[in-house]
């Protein structure tokens, strides 16, 4: 049974519609990640679920009960959840008092509070800071404090808004470790908003893609990242190569897509004659100097148009008659001597090609069967 159910939820800020017809359900113990670019309403959705705001329309059910618009019940339900805001807000009190707040408000006994706070300070590695004013903490420490403060009340549902935005890699790792600990040890239901694709991918059981106030796709990490439902989702999840074409043949699960000058092969059940977009993740494209003998069904000759270093990897733009973007490791880029104008062969497996049907976004039955 779902612990949280959102039904046809819409929300406006004055005249502006920020969320539209959101329907989703989250099971007990599930980790749900909301991904989407900034400003699409992720925070608003979390605020609505935490009952910090009243939705313009639609219902939210918590543990089977429809949440009333006012009254004591809202406080009671809210006390079964905890929310960590994107910008960690610390109270102008000691670290200890900050963490103890939630427990005090729930009427917990003094010695129990001391015990729990001490234990969680240990877990988040802040034990030395107990008596310090929380305002003096660094960004990463404040974020850990905020997380500890929320987790100490042992909420059934923990809402996290961009828990690692603007943090350095080490702080990010510490936070993620703590979140994993909560998932494993406490079986906490977690709803997190993030624009960090990898975070969504490795922490979440289920991912919801929120674009322009609407949930456009819900699925596990594989579905969302490999099989985006439409062009918008594909672009957002990093499927940079999107080429329009038409299915011309379908033989034994391999379809041919005519993209004008070329034919791309894909593993799909898409019927012949369908107008589609071909999606290929840049990291699935392999570059070589000669036509490779690999098992990849697609291989195109092209010219390097632009190379951008992204640190450990390089982003290579190739013109094969149609533009392709590939990600290669820095070493490969050096070995292949990738420079503008260099001739290369780009190959990719038919299984790495995802077809997005152009018309009628809703009818995706054949895609799900893939």
């Amino acid at each position: 049974m779902s612990l949280i159910k959102v039904v046809d939820l819409s929300h406006n800020y004055s005249e502006r519609r920020v969320l539209e017809n959101i329907t989703l359900s989250i099971a007990k113990g599930e980790v749900f990640a909301l991904i989407g670019p900034t400003g699409v309403g992720k925070t608003t959705l979390l605020r609505l679920i935490d009952l910090l705001e009243i939705p313009s329309s639609g219902e939210i059910y918590f543990d089977g009960r429809c949440i009333p618009e006012s009254g004591k019940q809202r406080v009671e339900i809210r006390r079964r959840m905890a929310f960590v805001l994107q910008k960690p807000q610390v109270f102008n009190l000691s670290v200890y008092d900050n963490i103890a707040c939630g427990l005090r408000w729930r009427g917990e006994k003094k010695d129990r509070i001391a015990e729990k706070v001490d234990r969680i300070l240990e877990t988040v590695d802040l034990r030395g800071y107990k008596n310090r004013n929380a305002r003096t903490l660094s960004g990463g420490e404040a974020q850990r404090l905020a997380l500890a403060r929320a987790a100490v009340v042992e909420p059934e549902v923990l809402l996290l808004d961009e828990p690692t935005a603007n943090l350095d890699p080490i702080s990010t790792e510490k936070i993620e470790q703590f979140i994993s600990y909560l998932i494993r040890q406490r079986n906490t239901t977690i709803i997190m908003a993030t624009h960090d694709m990898s975070q969504g991918q490795h922490l979440a059981d289920k991912i919801g893609v929120l674009l322009n106030g609407r949930i456009v796709q819900i699925g596990d990490a594989r579905e969302v990242f490999r099989l985006p439902q439409d062009e918008e989702v594909a672009k957002f999840v990093g499927m940079e190569n999107i080429i329009a074409g038409r299915v011309t043949a379908n033989a034994g699960g391999i379809v041919m897509v005519d993209t004008g000058n070329n034919v791309i092969q894909a593993v799909s059940g898409c019927p012949v004659g369908e107008e589609v977009n071909v999606g290929i993740r840049p990291e699935d494209i392999i570059l070589a100097l000669s036509k490779s003998e690999s098992s990849a069904r697609n291989c195109f000759r092209g010219e390097v148009a632009k190379v951008t270093s992204l640190g450990p990897v390089s982003r290579v733009e190739i013109n094969c008659g149609f533009p392709l973007v590939a990600l290669v490791t820095r070493i490969s880029a050096e070995v292949l001597n990738l420079q503008n104008g260099r001739e290369v062969y780009a190959s990719f497996k038919a299984a790495g090609v995802h077809l997005i049907r152009k018309e009628n976004r809703q009818n995706l039955s054949w895609q799900r069967r893939q």
Binding site: L52, R78, M81, A82, F83, L85, F91, N92, C101, A150
Partner: protein, 228 residues
Amino acid sequence: MTEIWHALIRAIELLVSLDPEVMEIVWRSLRVSGISCLLASLLCLPLGSLIHFHSFPGKRALINIIQTLFSLPTVIVGLFVFVLFSQAGPLGKAGILFTPTVMVIGQMILITPLLLGFTISALSGVSKEIVDTATSLGASGFQTALLMLKEARFAVLAAVIMGFGRALSEVGCAMMVGGNIKGFTRVITTTISLETSKGELELSIALGIILLLLALVINIALNRLQQR
């Protein structure tokens, strides 16, 4: 000129010798203003929170009125309280006109707008995110309000100190409703006023110096708080 010099020297003598009359007047001043300030705080902190946390029609107008009353003339408060507690007045039966009690009431009324206004602005200084954080951590409305007062404690305390300063230094209301009765309702300001008009400068100057010193102490305390 020599007369003034003479008075000044006598005033210093009074201060150094801790003259009992001077001390008695100072102590009464501190007590009356202290109690009125305490009572006004007990009223204004919760009331200010209530106004801050609730939205209702006319809230903006109410805050404007409160701010206008910051400079409420002391004699008007004096007149109002006098009429209220005079023999013929609605509360005349209480029989407390010309007592320290009625002075406390008068000063309370005088500084209530100040305390209320500054409590509200102190709470407005606490960010909306802090309120959301508290609410999301399970605080009830009352618990949130308490936390907010704690968050704004320096600003709130500054408001209380300012209220105390205004109560201590006002003369109009204390004179009108207290009556400046020697040994009973005579406070620093009313004594200065009376003694000066009698031409007896030494006590006036001595009390004036104390009043200035008190103002200095209050200001130092305020500055300290505002630097936090």
